[in-house]
Amino acid sequence: MIEIIEQYWKAYLWTDGFHWTGLAMTTWLLTLSIAFGFVLSVPLAVARVSQNRLVSGAVWLYTYVFRGTPLFVQLLFVYTGLYSLQVVRDTEVLNAFFREGFYCTVLTFTLNTCAYTTEIFAGAIRATPYGEIEAARAFGMSRLTMLRRVVLPSALRRALPAYSNEVILMLHATSVAFAATVPDLLKIARDVNAATYNTTLAFGTAGLLYLCLSFLLIWLFRMAENRWLAYLAPRKH
């Protein structure tokens, strides 16, 4: 057992000597998909609550499809499905992009988390007290100014608890990345399992590392809530 840990601890944590692997790879995947997903989801959430049926319907369709199918199937679709098309192989840019498992994974994860995040943010925007919007209008703010100064700051704060849930679920979802041959934490665990037949140790170690990362994220979000949601906390006397 000691030998196995001695031999593989580096691969579990950050590198197998050639590439980033294990925990570092998982964290990197999570960071990229969460960051891209956040940037895309804010305008999409605004579009989702738009009065224009066409705009909000289009965003609804996007989130419906991505929330209604498993992430694993989406990844297979992007990584193996799209690449099996002749058009994709013949176009140089697309060919270079979809050949790389890592790019496919980040693209799929981003689209998936963005769909969930859009719905979370849209719900928070809808729950904005009407008085705040009225007050902003009375101040003569334009729509953009109102969004930037009144609606979004309060809606994003109120969405924080649900958003933290989504980030934790996304961390757990990154474990399917091995299907696109990305050397993330679970891929290392599977390799160790295949090489040593010590199932409990191989997957147990990965599980423990995922658990630590989950707790770290929960702690970070609790700090963020203490900072940005302090005004909504129950009053202490």
Binding site: L76, G81, T174, L186, T199, S214
Partner: protein, 229 residues
């Protein structure tokens, strides 16, 4: 030809997925009820075990747990049969998949039911005991029907997540919808088409269960008036 002749294969895979999802739902449901009972019991040991169970399971990805439980289940059974010098018993993959998924999602159901238990007014239970109802009868007639109303939104959510999580069982060797779609795609070298079909079937399944769950929600909130503006 229907799905280029791979229709029966896909249909079989869909059946496996649905069967697996339903049987693990039943198991998770029972574990959730028991777990919620344990979490709210006055026994500290039970509370501790249930707390550890929900924290550990919900903190680790389901795929990791699935591989861990699935492989170690067979290994432990082999050790057991070996020590008793019996013949090796191979666990049926379907059964193992259902046990694994049920055990994992039982933790999520525990939390859902715990919240729902607490939402039923105490007076209702006290009145039932005052009527001389036994604990089991109180649960069946008073607690459960009222609890379901509060639990259903959580149950719907868990069910949708679980239905999608069944896509992962192809990794532990079950010929489910994903696996059969992949096989058909590889054999006909039209992966794009068959994985799209697979996605559409999942979409249909989630849409259908959405309707059923919404109907159930209406049914269990019969007689409840919501605040109207």
């Amino acid at each position: 030809m229907f799905l280029q002749g791979y229709g029966p294969l896909i249909l079989e895979g869909t059946t496996v997925t649905v069967e697996l999802a339903i049987s693990s739902l039943l198991l998770a449901f029972l574990i959730g009820l028991a777990g919620a009972g344990a979490k709210l019991s006055s026994n500290r040991v039970l509370r501790g075990i249930a707390g550890l169970y929900t924290t550990l399971i919900r903190g680790v990805p389901d795929l990791v747990l699935m591989l861990l439980i699935f492989y170690s289940l067979q290994t432990q059974l082999n050790n057991l049969t070996e020590s008793l010098s019996l013949e090796q018993i191979d666990i049926d993959p379907m059964l193992a998949g259902a046990i694994t998924l049920g055990f994992i999602y039982g933790a999520y159901f525990t939390e859902t039911f715990r919240g729902a238990y607490l939402s039923v007014p105490r007076g209702q239970l006290e009145a039932a005991y005052a009527f001389g109802m036994s604990r089991w009868r109180t649960f069946r007639r008073i607690l459960f029907p009222q609890m379901m109303r509060f639990a259903l939104p959580g149950i719907s959510n868990n069910w949708q997540v679980m239905l999608k999580a069944t896509a992962l069982v192809s990794i532990i060797g079950l010929i489910d919808l994903v696996k059969s779609a992949q096989d058909a795609g590889k054999a006909s070298s039209d992966l794009f088409y068959f994985i799209s079909v697979c996605g559409v079937i999942y979409l249909l399944l989630t849409t259908l269960s959405n309707f059923v769950l919404r109907w159930l929600e209406r049914r269990y909130s019969m007689g409840v008036r919501e605040g109207e503006l």
